[in-house]
């Protein structure tokens, strides 16, 4: 591994960790607020899966960085502009329909992204992907079932799903626009060329929405910026909540 490539892999692991941690935190906000006990537990489990994923990516990035860095430094001591997660992951959790639609978009993305990352020449990234892929199959089964249940449900549940689709659709193009870093890693057989999975994503999402008697949005707007550190106003609030204990008591441990 050349020094240049090592820095690329650190950045790559960081952004994948950011995606997982930020979404995991958002989903964890349902804990004790779930619509009923069983769903509360299920959502908390999903949140834990994402936070566990973030820990693996951060630990790997920290190891490559050396200088005694730890996963905690990366999760708790970086600021908004240093986070590189997709914007869709940081949006406030909204109502249950919003949470489900976001999860559907992300889970379908991961169901195509992770199998490719499993083939990475970087053994650690491949191993993390292999573990995460199993979880994603379960996550997707849940978000698909709920999408169909709510879309083809009552008038109110359908309306809420339509609202969520409207609000979220423009955040999805960002997932399929690899920047120079991701292209370099894809060419080296280490990263995934996300542009290549866009068609499969759209096909799967459309099929599920069809089954849910929901229209596939055709909105033209698209918001991006997460990968370059430009975020919505929501991320700084999320970070201030998530990081408050560690910032107040640096190095604290349970």
């Amino acid at each position: 591994m050349t020094a240049v490539q090592q820095q690329d892999i650190i950045d790559y692991a960081l952004r994948l960790g950011d995606d997982s941690l930020v979404l995991g935190h958002r989903v964890s906000e349902w804990t004790s607020n779930g619509p009923f006990l069983e769903e509360d537990i299920a959502l908390s489990n999903v949140a834990l899966d994402f936070i566990g994923r973030a820990r693996m990516f951060y630990t790997y990035a920290a190891d490559l960085m050396g200088e005694g860095k730890t996963e905690d430094d990366l999760a708790y001591l970086r600021d908004e502009r240093q986070y590189q997660n997709f914007l869709i992951n940081e949006l406030p959790r909204g109502d249950f329909a919003f949470t489900i639609v976001r999860q559907l978009f992300v889970d379908v993305f991961n169901s195509h992204f992770l199998p490719l990352l499993c083939q990475s020449k970087d053994e650690t990234l491949a191993a993390i992907a292999a573990k995460s892929e199993k979880e994603t199959r379960y996550h997707l089964r849940r978000s698909r079932d709920w999408t169909i249940r709510l879309g083809d449900g009552t008038e109110e549940s359908k309306q809420r799903m339509l609202n969520a689709l409207d609000e979220l659709w423009g955040y999805t193009p960002e997932m399929f626009e690899p920047d120079a870093l991701e292209q370099r890693l894809a060419e080296a057989g280490i990263g995934v060329d996300t542009a290549s999975i866009k068609d499969a994503w759209l096909r799967d999402v459309s099929a599920i929405l069809n089954q849910a008697t929901l229209p596939v949005p055709d909105a033209e707007w698209a918001i991006r910026g997460g990968r370059t550190g430009y975020h919505t106003e929501h991320l700084s609030h999320l970070l201030s909540v998530m990081q408050s204990v560690h910032r107040a008591y640096p190095g604290c441990q349970w």
């Binding site: 619509p35 069983e38 769903e39 537990i41 299920a42 489990n45």
Partner: protein, 95 residues
């Protein structure tokens, strides 16, 4: 929290291949498929099992406390129901 239209399901988990399914608890869900998903979340996240059954609680017909005597009294006055009532020929030995 609301469990408006949901039904109660009983959950049975088989902890190892070859063992039987044991009742582990109950949960609310819309249908069997969802009950199975929630059973996985509520009862098997610490690798407790290799197989899950879910059964609608309403489908279980249970004996009633009032019927206790007719169901479970051991009928001690009918010793011929016990194997020990019958003498064994010597050749059989310890059965």
């Amino acid at each position: 929290m609301s469990t408006g239209n949901q039904e109660l399901f009983e959950v049975f988990v088989r902890s190892k291949r070859g063992l039987d399914h044991k009742h582990v608890g109950s949960l609310h869900a819309e249908d069997h498929a969802q009950a199975l998903e929630y059973a996985r979340d509520c009862y098997t996240r610490r690798s407790e099992g290799v197989s899950i059954w879910v059964v609608k609680s309403s489908d279980i017909c249970a004996s009633q406390e009032d019927d206790r005597e007719s169901f479970f009294d051991p009928s001690d006055d009918k010793p011929y129901r016990q194997a020990t009532y019958y003498p064994l020929p010597k050749e059989v030995g310890n059965m």
